[in-house]
């Protein structure tokens, strides 16, 4: 795995400060192509901050981020979206007063190329592109299981549908790397299992590399091939789900030092 060609996303020494607070500190992190990778960590560990750095919402103070071997830090969010890196949000951020279809169409932006004058003059190229986009959006709506609900406003959809629609909007981008910020937040175990299945399908069927932030350990352990743990902006562990489960530092970070030693003793006694 030393060959950089294997990695779709590479971060070297990424540091992001907010005043005196170092939210992400010297973070080295690589995502293998076609994999499902999770970032976990306690609240405030810098996970979402890192997502914001990758998608260009924050500039980084030090280090660099490469996507497909090209530097993307410093690019604006829309440029990064045009490279087919896209994301969902922890607290769903749909365009609430737009219909489901319109949300998907906005997600398709990097794929659309016509200009406003084409629309004003009713030029055939523009019409054709709009029609094709609409057809694709309908297909996508079907894929995410919202067929028939295209004309409903996003805010009027039930919670689960909103989660799906948000992923759908990201998929409309035809992403090569998809960043999911707590995709199963607020779901019951059944729904989480379904979501896991859906996320795995995205990788298997569409070939999308997936990076996710997740708190639900069942999801993390069930779906990820690699797990990276952040605490106070510092990477404290990295490895397969099994390795992470046994890692002392991780247990300490989550449950405190005492708990880690307490857990260690019976494990050592076996």
């Amino acid at each position: 795995m030393t060959d950089s060609q294997d990695f779709i996303l590479q971060s070297k020494g990424v540091t992001k400060r907010f005043g005196g607070l170092v939210a992400v500190n010297e973070f080295d992190f690589n995502v293998p192509r076609n994999s499902i990778v999770s970032i976990i960590g306690p609240n405030g560990a810098g996970k979402t901050t890192y997502f914001n750095c990758v998608t260009g919402f924050y500039g980084i103070d030090e280090g660099m981020i490469e996507f497909e071997g090209e530097q993307i830090d410093g690019l604006s969010p829309d440029r990064i979206a045009h490279r087919h890196v896209t994301r969902t949000y922890q607290n769903i951020r749909l365009f609430a007063n737009m219909t489901a279809i319109e949300n998907l169409l906005v997600g398709m932006e990097p794929e659309l190329h016509t200009h406003w004058y084409g629309a004003v003059l009713g030029m055939p190229g523009t019409r054709a592109e709009e029609k094709q986009a609409l057809d694709e959006a309908r297909e996508l709506l079907h894929f995410i299981g919202l067929a028939g609900k295209g004309d409903l406003l996003a805010k009027n959809l039930p919670y689960g549908d909103q989660r799906r629609l948000e992923i759908g909007r990201a998929l409309a981008n035809k992403p090569r790397l998809l960043l999911l910020d707590e995709p199963t937040a607020g779901m019951n175990p059944n729904e989480s299992a379904e979501a896991m299945h859906f996320i795995r399908r995205l990788r298997d069927e569409l070939g999308i590399t997936i990076l996710l932030i997740e708190h639900d350990m069942r999801v993390v352990m069930g779906i990820s091939e690699r797990v990276t743990v952040l605490d106070y902006g510092i990477k404290i562990a990295e490895g397969s789900p099994n390795e992470i489960q046994k890692n002392t530092k991780v247990i300490e970070a989550y449950l405190g030092r005492g708990a880690a030693t307490g857990l260690q003793t019976p494990a050592g006694g076996q």
Partner: protein, 565 residues
């Protein structure tokens, strides 16, 4: 069975006092006296009486509305009591005015006003009459609810429209005289008001027509929706041609004065359509919109004037694209520094920009070029195949063409990719950017289009007036345009037209209102925000945004039911 014990006395007291207080205020600021003399139906009812009793009527309506149907007595007593309570503040006011010289503080409390309130019968008897009168109004209003549902709406329409026609008697009578002669007009109007007999006939006619329309099972739009698609298309085409022909012959029907009014409305429609793109579509609150209007107007003025300030001596038609281009460029230039600003900050900066442009126009610095406070004079009217379009009825066609163009562009854009980008920007700027929308281009296009429409309006304005001065470009215009969008309905194109008619057209027709214009704006805006925040003709989206509860529940249920099939 409900008894009189169910009377909600507390509510009656509260609402009645509110109605009475409104009546007193309306009187004290001089509105009542101003309209007191204007007869709507000769010898029957004056505008003053309408204004005097409208608060009571509305409040009695609101109080009686919540009483379940069938409880006739309860409803009537509620109405009566509300009316009676309403008269208390008025009576108090009459006594106060007779005891103290209120004119020291409230110059509008004249003897005429008091005589209007106390029927010239002195404080005691006058107050008693007023109690009876307001009680009767309350009683009648409540009685309205006893009528079967099918009669209510026609009756309401008949009263409303007869009064509205009465209100516009003066203008209508002038037009009728031009078409049918004096003798005929005298038959219909007595002085400046409707003839009582004619009013009666009108009343019965409107009542009958609305009653018949209400009896039909389907509304017009339902019937159109039920037609096969081809027939629908034909119907739509026919109605569009109908509207177009109507718009073409409109100046002939309206005559000079009303054509001038329509031209003013049209210029505001143009500005409204432009600001609607910026505020309604893209959600960028621009309070300095008048700046682009001024730039368009000054460009047209300087390029075409025959006076000493003129450059180029262009004709209206060659100067027009330059003016629009100048305004659009200014829009883009303003757009650049405010790209990163949102909401309140954007509003404040644009507000400043509008003032800067006005003050620049006034300044000594630019006086040699644009005339300072003396403005630019001798701006020619648009030439058209050898003649100049001097009459308002001729100029109308240029305004109409401009409005139709702006409407067409707006409606095409709102359904386009750019329209979607604007909407996304309005909803969540950060996410819109993360989805690949180029914020800079999208925002600048919104500012550019808005400014271009406003510049077009300004160019027409300059040519219409033939002279322009800096004081024509006050902040008030920005506020008017914003208000008309809000009242019409944000993001709605028909809303812009309706808003312009209400805010620009009505004050032109009701000249007496002139000094109360801003008060009326304020009152209208407050009432609208409370009662109908989505505007008179909301865009489909806004309606759903603001009335998400009932309507949408139904909509979702029907859609979900449709899914199951």
């Amino acid at each position: 069975m409900a008894t009189l014990r169910d009377l909600d006395l507390r509510k009656i007291l509260r609402m009645g006092l509110i109605a009475g207080a409104i009546t007193v205020i309306v009187g004290a600021i001089g509105l009542l006296e101003l309209f007191g003399e204007r007869a709507l139906v000769a010898d029957v009812i004056t505008m003053g009486q309408v204004i005097l009793y409208t608060p009571v009527l509305l409040i009695a309506y609101m109080t009686a509305k919540d009483i379940p149907s069938g409880q006739t007595a309860l409803s009537l007593v509620t109405g009566l009591l509300t009316g009676v309570v309403s008269s208390f503040p008025v009576a108090g006011f009459i006594f106060l005015a007779s005891a103290v010289n209120l004119r020291q503080f409230l110059p509008n409390v004249s003897p005429t006003l008091i005589s209007l309130l106390d029927f010239n019968a002195g404080p005691v008897i006058g107050s008693l009459i007023q109690v009876a009168a307001m009680g009767t109004v309350g009683l009648i209003t409540a009685g309205f609810f006893i009528l079967p549902e099918k009669h209510r709406k026609p009756l309401f329409n008949a009263i409303l429209w007869t009064l509205v026609i009465g209100l516009f008697s003066e203008i209508l009578s002038i037009r009728l005289r031009d078409f049918f002669g004096v003798a005929f007009t005298r038959l219909i109007f007595t002085g400046k008001a409707l003839n009582p007999l004619v009013a009666g006939i009108l009343f019965i006619l409107i009542d009958g027509i609305t009653y018949r329309m209400g009896r039909q099972k389907q509304t017009l739009s339902e019937r159109i929706a039920a037609m096969p698609p081809r027939q629908q298309k034909r119907y739509r085409l026919a109605s569009m041609i109908g509207i177009f022909v109507f718009l073409l012959i409109l100046p002939l029907l309206l005559g000079t004065y009303l054509s001038e009014v329509i031209n003013n409305i049209g210029i505001y429609v143009l500005m409204g359509l432009g600001l609607n793109i910026v505020v309604g579509f893209a959600g960028l609150l621009d309070l300095g919109y008048v700046a682009f209007f001024a730039i368009g107007a000054y460009s047209m003025a300087i390029l075409t004037t025959g006076g000493s300030l003129g450059i180029g001596n262009l004709t209206f038609w060659t100067a027009l694209p330059f003016s629009v281009l100048m305004a659009a460029t200014a829009g883009l230039i303003l757009g650049v520094p405010v790209l990163r600003m949102r909401g309140d900050y954007l509003a404040i900066v644009t507000l400043g920009f509008g003032e800067i442009i006005r003050i620049l126009a006034l300044s000594d610095l630019l006086k040699p070029y644009i005339g300072g406070a003396q403005g630019v004079l001798q701006i020619p009217k648009p030439p058209f195949f050898g003649t100049a379009l001097i009459q308002p009825g001729q100029f109308y066609y240029i305004v109409l063409a401009g409005c139709l163009l702006a409407w067409f562009v707006s409606s095409r854009l709102s359904d386009s990719r750019l329209g979607r980008q604007w909407m996304a920007l309005r909803e969540d700027e950060d996410v819109a950017e993360a989805m690949g929308i180029k914020l800079v281009a999208t925002k600048l296009l919104a500012f550019g289009f808005g400014a271009a429409f406003s510049g077009l309006a300004g160019a027409l304005f300059a040519s219409k007036l033939t002279s322009i001065f800096p004081h024509s470009f006050k902040l008030e215009i920005s506020i008017n345009v914003l208000s008309l969008i809000i009242i019409g309905g944000m993001g709605s194109l028909p809303g812009v037209v309706v808003g312009a008619f209400i805010l620009v057209g009505l004050p032109e027709l009701l000249r007496e209102f002139a000094e109360f214009r801003l008060l009326m704006y304020g009152a209208l805006l407050v009432v609208m925000m409370l009662a109908k925040p989505e505007g008179f003709i909301p865009s489909a989206i806004r309606r759903r945004e603001l009335h998400a509860d009932k309507e949408i529940e139904g909509e979702i249920q029907s859609k979900v039911a449709g899914l199951g099939e």
